[in-house]
């Protein structure tokens, strides 16, 4: 299986360690991974703003970059959600459909496709609060949703449970959106920042030293809120923990 790695723009620019960890982890798991250098964006920011036709160039480029791979993997739930569920600014050719069908968020790829049983190199002796982005939770369905009363399951929790020394804090409102919401974070900055502050406080009060998530965009926002609000909590992408980061 040939894997194409997509690194979203904000990870590329602000959180390269999450991207590096994703690549190294896939390599440790014996995967053949390419990072096409001409990649930019999946088109989500434009599409989510309603400007779907403005997403066409990004989507077309995405397909040019990734059509040749068996699987496209990305450390981002919301980008995966866009490609899988909303990627329709361009004609739906066979190539486009191939890309949409074979795009995976990292956690679901590890959990459902590779079915990884063990991360022998991983040890994280800290109490963490898991943040599921709304994209992973309610669109990709990588965990059970409290509103539906379905039996508990959590793919990210399954993976993290295989890490030595890790323990989990239980926030009061685990499924509550953190308020990032893409451009919402600036067009509705006051509500967004308040949601973010409430979110990091909830994790902090539950005893979490770290917030861990498969979505860096949520954490970028939460980190900004925590630092401004003086909430002493750290942030780490799930790929970094699974790849063996100790702190």
């Amino acid at each position: 299986m040939k894997i194409g790695l997509f690194i979203p723009c904000y990870i590329d620019a602000f959180y390269p360690n999450a991207g590096i960890a994703t690549l190294e982890l896939l390599e440790k798991l014996g995967q053949d991974v390419d990072y096409p250098l001409d990649q930019t964006c999946c088109g989500q920011p434009m599409a989510n703003s309603g400007c779907n036709s403005d997403a066409a160039a990004a989507e077309a480029l995405f397909v040019r970059n990734f059509a040749k791979y068996d699987a496209i993997v990305m450390p981002s739930g919301s980008c995966t959600h866009h490609v899988r569920d909303n990627f329709d600014a361009i004609p739906q050719t066979a190539e486009v459909q191939h890309v949409r069908k074979n795009t995976f968020e990292l956690v679901e790829f590890l959990h459902d496709i590779l079915k990884v049983e063990d991360f022998p190199w991983a040890e994280f002796p800290h109490k963490v609060g898991l943040h599921n982005s709304c994209g992973t939770l309610r669109a990709l369905r990588t965990a059970s949703m409290s509103e539906l009363g379905e039996p508990f399951f959590s793919k990210p929790m399954d993976l993290l449970s295989k890490v030595k020394g890790i323990s989990f804090a239980t926030p009061k409102r685990p499924d509550e959106c953190c308020g990032f919401g893409g451009t919402f974070s600036v067009t509705e900055e006051a509500v967004s920042a308040r949601m973010g502050l409430d979110k990091v406080r909830d994790h902090h009060q539950a005893g979490a030293e770290y917030i861990v998530s498969a979505d860096t965009s949520c954490m970028m926002h939460q980190q900004g809120c925590a630092e401004r609000g003086g909430v002493p909590i750290r942030f780490i992408h799930i790929a970094e923990i699974l790849n063996g980061a100790r702190s």
Binding site: C9, I11, D12, A13, F14, P16, G19, I20, L23, Y35, L37, T40, C41, G43, P45, M46, N48, S49, G50, C51, N52, S53, D54, A55, A56, A57, A58, A60, L61, N86, C134, R138, E147, L148, G149, R173, E176, C177, G179, F180, G181, T183, F184, S185, V186, T187, E188, E189, A190, V191, R194, G196, L197, D198, H221, Q223, G224, C225, E227, R228
Partner: protein
């Protein structure tokens, strides 16, 4: 006429500045969501009920003209006067004429979102009709000159001192009364004589039943039953979409409604009106006001399934932190954001953006309206109809172009690589300045992933694979 879009963000910012109100509002509505969850867990058939409710409603909407005709025929047979109102103005005229015919000068009414839609009080009052809201929350809002901020709990954004202040002004009660019990008692005492001497009563309604010509009203305070039974004239106003085919379908809806709304199994009163009471006269006004047009909107017609439980508002993290009044519309919260633009596209063009599209609303909706997907679709429609702010549209246009050109994009990125001390414009755009108002910026990094990859993975690999940098 140029209408200004509602500035939800600004109103929300003001709401957030008042910590006691904000905290109570968020926690109270979250508590309602928690109680809803507890009820759901008690019923193993919960998801089955939601599916049934959704299917019944979709079927009914697809057969709406027939069911409305059936309802009308049965209601008339039972002695109910049935009126049809194309819009709010016609609704108000109909109600006004009925009252005038009876010489009615005082009207007591229970909560009705449709009369809010029609702005009925503003029509009747200059015509000499004293309209008294009898629902406690709605009465508080009426006395305070505000719209209801929530479709089920209209004054949920207020605290005890607010109510004490309003009642002191209008009921001459102690402005420092800090007991909700005694304030509620003041309302009972003030309302009772008004109810006993009113010329006419008015209610909204939750359901119409085609099979029997019945309308069903679900309330808790007893004020709707008082409004309907004390005066001899009862006028009810309902939207045309509130219909179900069979009386037996009511089981599904009654079981879902209050559990979704308040987390109680049923409202204290579930009242079935099938005809006038002895010596009385009963009218029902069936209101369209945009609904028949909405039925033709392929992506949005299922919003007509709504049974007005408010569960989507209670669970919405944005609504809880911005308050219903910030939406500047009769219907607030997630459901408001998808139906308000059908009333006025420009005025409410901002509301589908007052959401993170997190999807919790869709999950709690008892009739399975895909609310967050409709929010997404509305954004597209609004962009296509040029209802987005110019700057935002331009930025998206430029960003879209940039994202299609990898070389240009990479140049823009590399400019920020060495010392990222401010947000790079290429990702966060110039209108993103508000980011830093309540948040820190991301920390600078030494190199992008892209550069790291070239340094650490491409040496030697590049030539053999023919990749380009």
């Amino acid at each position: 006429m140029k209408v200004k879009p509602v500035n939800h963000a600004k109103a929300a910012e003001a709401f957030l500045e008042d910590a006691p109100h904000l905290t109570f509002h968020d926690e109270r509505l979250w508590d309602m969501r928690q109680k809803r969850d507890q009820q759901m867990h008690l019923l193993p058939e919960w998801q089955e009920l939601r599916s049934r409710a959704s299917a019944i409603k979709e079927h009914t909407l697809a057969n709406l003209p027939e069911y409305l005709e059936q309802f009308e025929a049965n209601a008339k047979k039972n002695g109910i006067h049935v009126h049809w109102a194309a819009d709010g103005a016609e609704h108000n005229r109909i109600v006004g004429e009925i009252l005038e015919k009876h010489g009615a000068k005082s009207l007591i009414k229970s909560k009705s979102m449709v009369t809010e839609e029609c702005d009925m009080r503003a029509y009747l009052e200059p015509r000499g009709v004293v309209v008294t809201e009898t629902d406690l929350g709605e009465r508080i809002q009426q006395l305070d000159g505000q719209m209801p901020s929530h479709i089920v709990v209209p004054a949920v954004h207020k605290l005890v001192p607010d109510v004490a202040r309003i009642f002191a002004k209008n009921y001459n009660t102690d402005p420092n009364d800090d007991s909700p019990q005694s304030l509620a008692e003041s309302q009972r005492m003030a309302a009772r004589p008004v109810i006993l001497t009113a010329d006419a009563g008015m209610t909204g309604g939750n359901f119409l039943v085609a099979e029997t010509g019945t309308f069903v009203v679900c309330t808790n305070e007893g004020n709707a039953d008082l409004s309907a039974t004390v005066p001899n004239l009862h006028i009810a106003t309902l939207g045309i979409e509130r219909i179900v085919p069979r009386m037996a379908d009511m089981g599904v809806f009654v079981r879902l409604l209050s559990r979704s709304a308040l987390g109680s199994p049923i409202t204290q009163y579930t009242t079935h009106f099938r005809g006038p009471q002895k010596g009385g006269e009963m009218h029902i006004v069936l209101v369209d006001n945009g609904r028949s047009a909405r039925l033709g909107m392929e992506e949005f017609w299922t919003s007509l399934k709504c049974i007005r439980c408010g569960a989507c508002m209670n669970t919405c993290p944005v609504y809880r932190r911005s308050g219903g009044l910030s939406y500047g519309a009769v219907y607030s919260g997630p459901i408001g954001a998808i139906i308000d633009p059908t009333f006025n596209e420009r005025k409410y063009s901002t509301l589908p953006f007052a959401s993170t599209m997190n999807g919790s609303c869709t999950n709690v909706c008892p009739v399975k309206i895909n609310i967050h997907e409709q929010l997404y679709k509305w954004r597209r429609v609004l962009a296509e109809h040029h209802e987005l702010p110019f700057v935002k549209r331009e930025i998206m246009h430029m960003a879209g172009k940039l994202m299609g050109q990898p070389t240009l994009y990479r140049t823009a990125i590399n400019g920020t690589e060495v010392a990222l001390s401010s947000l790079p414009r290429f990702v966060l755009y110039n209108w993103l300045n508000p980011w830093g108002k309540h948040r820190e910026l991301p920390h600078p990094v030494k190199q992008t992933f892209h550069s790291w990859y070239k340094k650490n993975r491409l040496k030697g690999k590049e030539e053999s694979k023919g990749g380009k940098a």
